[in-house]
Symmetry: C2
Subunit: 338 residues, 2 copies
């Protein structure tokens, strides 16, 4: 029975693209593709296109009757309720009963969680966190997300929303305005957008020469800052040092909570490598409570960038079947409508 | 078999007193007593006195062959290793193999954890957190401790030390020096000693009239500040507002980590009641990420003050027997040497 359903579908809904793929039990992505998340003004039309394109992929690898379940990573997705909850930047009214709608459409069980939790599950199943029971995934993208794993289990909290470490307050006074409406959140400093904001601040406040001054200030992206830093630009390197310092200080604080063996860094900014990892590790160690000094690792994700999102989501697909006892998030399986 | 061993021993080792008691399965403390923790310069002599006095208590309630296990709450006690680890203010060299020594002395299994985790287990078993699977115990005593419960399990982390929320940095710059060697830790503001420090600062910095000015400034305790506030002293009330504000801001940050249903406040400062709870709740709500606004409770411990420490520790005694598979913390039972 298990061998007759050797694949899962992983779906990663991002703000721009929705990536989906067919994955086997070893984490090999047999095929993947994507659609534009915002193309349809009605959510039903988005689901229709997602179904059509995913099933095209399923047929292309001859997997019609071989799909064990679907795992989805989506912004503000609640593992317990299967809903995409309020307060998210999507073109449709929320909450959206995403798990239920997908399961009805595909006729197989669906489990959903937010993108950072999906990444943590993926990393634990296939990546840098294999063998670790206590680690924290930090995703550095447009925002800062996190997936907390304690004793081998993702922490969902009492309501399914735990692990929003991007919204820890790192500047209690005079902090940057966050999309959440508060000020001083970690993600206003340590996301890709935070890096660009820091660069703009440095350019405005100082007279330090920088190749970034050749770019219109509002157009500067974290990629520009990275390119400049790699070319030896001092101001750009200072931006990464500042970003890494704030993140490292935060990681030291997170350690007193769950005493993880490692932090796994994932997402666009992680590509900056030592440019960000070095100041992160330095600041983390400098600020670490003595009992954890030298004991907590900061690792880069080992998931292949192109496959990571789908892999992470797909790993949850194996749970979908197991989780049929907890009804809201997972709808009972019926034959796959291939 | 279970009915033939209906009691556990709870031992709470504090910096000053070690309290111990015999507790039944419903959380009734049949008898309790205490010894001075620092009376003996040799740890073996401390163990001897603890054994003698505890066994006197055991005989007084006719419980010689009825002890299921021993649970201990002690500073820096590690659940996994059974050791009191380094970095603690005790008169003996550390690490101390406390669980093993106690188990050999008493001839029954022993489980140990730090005092705040013991309090959390006690609260979940007998107190305000009955029925809650996700809550965080905050102990406001000489320091600030915490016991984090996620999905019904105490969070120990990869090394047994998780949940040191008193050492979250709440003032990144210019913060107060902490006993841990760093600056700005939560416990330098929100412990009983933190309250006294704040009062001294207020008295030195301002000219506000206060009955606290009648006390030599270095002698002021949190109890003095409490008494003054209850008598309507404005400066003393401001001290509690400031303390509560910092704690409430921290609780809002802790919520993004594990999304608890409640915080349970325990320890000396908790006796200040609304004087501290009101500003805590206000600051927590004001700083809460929107998805949790109005959803997280701040509760006072429901454990009887006199029995709380022993009850909390004793609840772990039931685990000692269950945990015999994980050798380091729990030593195999041999007949009780009564």
């Amino acid at each position: 029975m298990i061998n007759s359903k050797p694949y899962v579908i992983g779906i990663d809904m991002g703000g721009t693209n929705t990536v989906f793929g067919i994955v086997d039990a070893r984490g090999v992505v047999l095929a993947s593709d994507s659609i534009k998340t915002r193309k349809h003004s009605k959510f039903e039309d988005y689901i229709d296109e997602l179904y059509t394109e995913t099933m095209r992929l399923v047929r292309s690898v001859d997997a019609e009757d071989k799909i064990y379940g679907i795992g989805v990573g989506a912004p503000n997705a609640n593992y317990f309720t299967g809903m995409i909850e309020d307060g998210v930047n999507l073109p449709w009214p929320t909450p959206i009963p995403f798990a239920q709608m997908l399961s009805e459409k595909f006729g197989i069980p669906v489990a959903i969680t937010n993108d950072a939790n999906a990444a943590a599950i993926g990393e634990m199943t296939y990546g840098a966190a294999r063998g670790l029971k206590d680690f924290i995934m930090i995703t550095l993208g447009t925002g800062v997300g996190s997936g907390i794993v304690i004793n081998g289990q993702v922490v969902y909290g009492h309501d399914g929303f735990a692990g929003e470490l991007g919204h820890i307050i790192v500047k209690r006074n005079n902090g940057r305005l966050c999309g959440c409406g508060r000020t001083g959140c970690l993600e206003t400093y340590c996301s890709a957008t935070g890096v660009a904001r820091t660069a703009r601040e440095y350019l405005e406040i100082t007279d330090t020469p920088s190749r970034l001054r050749e770019i219109p200030i509002e157009d500067i992206t974290s990629k520009d800052v990275y390119d400049a830093a790699m070319a030896g630009d001092k101001l750009a390197k200072d931006v990464f040092d500042y970003t890494g310092k704030i993140l490292g200080e935060a990681l030291a604080d997170f350690t007193v909570f769950s005493a993880p063996q490692a932090f796994v860094i994932f997402g666009g900014l992680a590509k900056a490598g030592d440019l960000i990892l070095k100041p992160v590790r330095e600041a983390m160690e400098k600020n670490m409570l003595s009992i954890w000094k030298g004991k907590v690792q900061v690792l880069l994700s080992e998931l292949k960038e192109a496959d990571a999102a789908v892999l992470g989501a797909s790993a949850l697909g194996w749970e979908a079947r197991k989780a049929t006892q907890t009804p809201p998030a997972v709808v009972s399986p019926t034959p796959l409508k291939a």
